[in-house]
Symmetry: C2
Subunit: 307 residues, 2 copies
Amino acid sequence: MSLLVVGSLALDSVETPFGKRDDVLGGSATYFSAAASLLAKVSVVGVVGDDFPLGELDFLRKRGVELDGLEKVAGKTFRWKGRYGFDLNAAETLDTQLNVFEHFSPRLGPAARKADRIFLGNIDPELQMRVLDQVERPRLVCADTMNYWISSKRAQLLALLPRVDVLMVNDGEVRQLAGESNVMKAAHAAQRMGAKAVVVKRGEYGALLVAGEHSFYAPAFPLADVRDPTGAGDTFAGGFLGLLDRLDRTDAGALCQATVMGSTVASFTVERFSLDRLRDLTLAEVRLRFDAFRQLVHFDELPDHIG
Amino acid sequence: MSLLVVGSLALDSVETPFGKRDDVLGGSATYFSAAASLLAKVSVVGVVGDDFPLGELDFLRKRGVELDGLEKVAGKTFRWKGRYGFDLNAAETLDTQLNVFEHFSPRLGPAARKADRIFLGNIDPELQMRVLDQVERPRLVCADTMNYWISSKRAQLLALLPRVDVLMVNDGEVRQLAGESNVMKAAHAAQRMGAKAVVVKRGEYGALLVAGEHSFYAPAFPLADVRDPTGAGDTFAGGFLGLLDRLDRTDAGALCQATVMGSTVASFTVERFSLDRLRDLTLAEVRLRFDAFRQLVHFDELPDHIG
């Protein structure tokens, strides 16, 4: 089994009420592979500039992440600068510099083309399509997107959706895509557009999975210490796809477990800045918190005499 | 077993993106007793003016709700006017007329004084205390409050909390009470102020229960049709206390079931305006949706070989 992620590697500058970091490791492919590699074999396709501190990725290599698909080109790495207030659900973007990412066109090597499961990070839907045109026979395709593509590349996104098994977006994105304020109706509309299943990420409020007729809700793990929500969505995707690849299943039961695994891994990410908590995170720690999730949502049936 | 609710009976004028109603039945005691009476014997203490359409409460009488504690006085009934946008989690209050509610002082009759479980609706904490001074030996006290009392009657509220078993508030209220943005930390702070347990209501995102060391999360039931969120919190409280009274239990397991029951009944309330959905709601319908909640959050354990 194997996973392929295509997305950004970035240098982030982030400020939250709990601290500030400049030019730290970030990017969707980075967060995704840090999470997914706890569970599965991951290959990365992306691009960095000649200013990128490649040594920062050593912890990924040690977890078996395949970085041959990482292009190094002349110029500066993609940079994102953002700020969060006490409402950690919404980032304010202060600056985005695409740099070498501006002319990125994903090229898959022979191994990447054979990947079983694919995560299309939040990039131009035309590039996402170009990835799908290069892969041989993926068993599951999961795609993220954002408000910018939903408005500026709507036709391309709509062309992609029928090739997507799991569309993974946040509340605002699914509402915008569907033109519908009710999240359940919006998720069903996204299914009619072609996505087989939809995961709606709701930040500190958890995640909703709509797969066929089945609905499933995983809360976010209640944390007393949240410092930086950056990367939570991409590590959610990493835990989600990592578990599906490890289980080699895509039935509704596995999708529910994968949703909880996504929430679980994301709950570690936000406890520290950048990828700091993910660097030495172990699968044993993840497993403990996954099991605690069962306690968090468990309740007994009602006695028969009620109702 | 028996329940007592002390709170408002109101005439509400509400506008949402899905419609508009003027001078319809509302109020915390009304919503609470409509929900709780599906499960338990309820007494209401409150006040209405001589303009109140008492016939509107017939459906409560038919469910066995005791209305002897309802004072009818000269003057106009409490009126609330509010508006919701597409974000149905937050109401904008357009007008509040206390009217006969301004000089309300709860007086409990002999039966109400013997109530086993009490819901103190969102009224002045001095009045809430006056209720507790009249009851004999309640087994469980649950109290709601709001931003206005947290700032203007803080000392009185802090005096009340050690007599409260379950403080039932929303995100913003628990944050304001504790002066802490993190909801888990804020709930723990409210426990240190004296509340044995805290339920944090999060609108369409569900409800968090913190009881001793135990945390439990119930999502809101995902609905494709939400028309008017007014009264969701009070019907949550009604389902919550109604089930505890019916079960005659207050252990952590029962509190978790009660949280789900609260979410379940509230999910019906919001499907229609005012109390329209509650009038003919049956316990059998509620039971079916409670059982569907188990499906909504159920996931299997991980295989042993993972982690």
